[in-house]
Amino acid sequence: MDLAEEAAQEAFAIAAERWPRDGSPQHPVAWLVATGRNRAIDLVRRERTLQHKTRLLKADQPVASVDELDLDDSTIPDERLELIFTCCHPALAVEAQVALTLRALGGLTTEEIARAFLVSEETMKRRLSRAKAKIKLTAIPFGVPADRLLPDRLAAVLAVVYLIFNQGYPGRGDLAAEAIRLGRLLAELMADEPEVHGLLALMLLHDSRREARVVDGQLVPLAEQDRSHHDQAKVEAGHAALAQALALRPAAGPYVLQAAIASLQAEEEIDWDEVAVLYEQLERLTGSPVVALNRAVAVAEAGEPERALELVDSLHLGDYRYLHSTRAELLRRLGRREEARAAFERALGLAATEPERRFLARRLATL
């Protein structure tokens, strides 16, 4: 799985939820939210199938080793870290990594995992046993990788945990809670890895908004959320994890940066200059043009629409529709009506959903 792309998408989602739903003139990219809302509805639908079926594991619950997944032997808790590195080995398909991790460390049954990923129990059973057979036959090691391998392998583990979190985030939260539990476990076992704390912070900050974020199956953008419904304990735990990450090493990785952005965007008054700086760092790390687009939006919000337009025009995103809609909005703000009209028309031609189309058409009509 491509971590950079995943990071970029999430960064995009973070930025997206900042803009109000229906595009008041001073806000450039409201349609991002409509898209996010669709995604949320989709996930809510999926989560309904999971509902209360997922049971949460207490931290001290015994875990099964890979060989013993179908047995209920207890193993030594100290081996949980070795186990997660084995489950998240890159020689296994990502969906197998996720399933094995949930099975071995999340304490979910095969049936529960199958439901969470909308496949039959038979399919999930086959997926798990194929993965276990591969671990055995190819001698995938049981252990924490050597230092020279650790950065890549840790990134793979974090990606799996984050994938589990995102699968559960907008919905019922059982999988998200599992992911946070795994994040806490990692933060305890690998206390000197800043990205581990960064991921935990990112998940906690996002999860703190769960109650306020989805109302009646609709995604509510951060600016419109009822902040009294934010989980303060999680916000504080998120800030604490972020502080821990930042204390460890000056050069922040992608999770630390995203957590820092999430933290800034949770403030009443958003420091857009700072957000833009963080996106710039994230862009440098990931090389993702989608992150660059987010950065441009932050630059515009910070009061520099001309510079934002320059940034947008330097991106190679082809027919990526948000590029054109962002560009159109920036041109509109700069009073370049004819160019804005052309850009809105192009964006309209690329729009994927009805709410997006309606929004862009309305915009176009005001020019």
Partner: protein, 118 residues
């Protein structure tokens, strides 16, 4: 655990090297071969020298060309005795074909019990 490292060079990638570069790449292949964990290996002649025999009903068919009808054909292999997959993957990543745009497939060998091995 023994592994076969099946080397699929990007077609033309090795032939395109200048002579001195080719020499040094070749030396890298030999250095890997001389690793004490490396039990064997071979560099195969190009795919267009291959002849494939396959079942054809009444009589077997003998066909010009490699078995798989793809551009990338097996260019050679190593057999490696490594303690686990990570070790084999590290070795595989040092095979020059990877750097030159090709691929290495790592497959464990079926363990043959000592008493039946000859």
């Amino acid at each position: 655990m023994k592994y076969a490292l099946l080397i699929f060079p990007k077609p033309g990638s090795h032939e395109a090297l200048a002579e001195d570069q080719y020499e040094s790449v070749n030396a890298e292949y030999w250095a890997l071969r001389e690793d004490s964990r490396c039990l064997g290996g071979a560099h195969l002649q190009p795919g267009d020298t291959a002849t494939t025999v396959r079942y054809g009903g009444r009589e077997n068919l003998i066909i010009d060309g490699p078995y798989a009808d793809t551009k990338e054909v097996l260019g050679g292999y190593y057999v490696l005795d490594a303690s686990n997959l990570d070790e084999a993957l590290e070795f595989a990543q040092r095979v020059p074909a990877v750097r030159l745009g090709g691929a290495v497939e790592v497959r464990p060998l079926v363990e043959v019990p000592v008493e039946t091995a000859h």
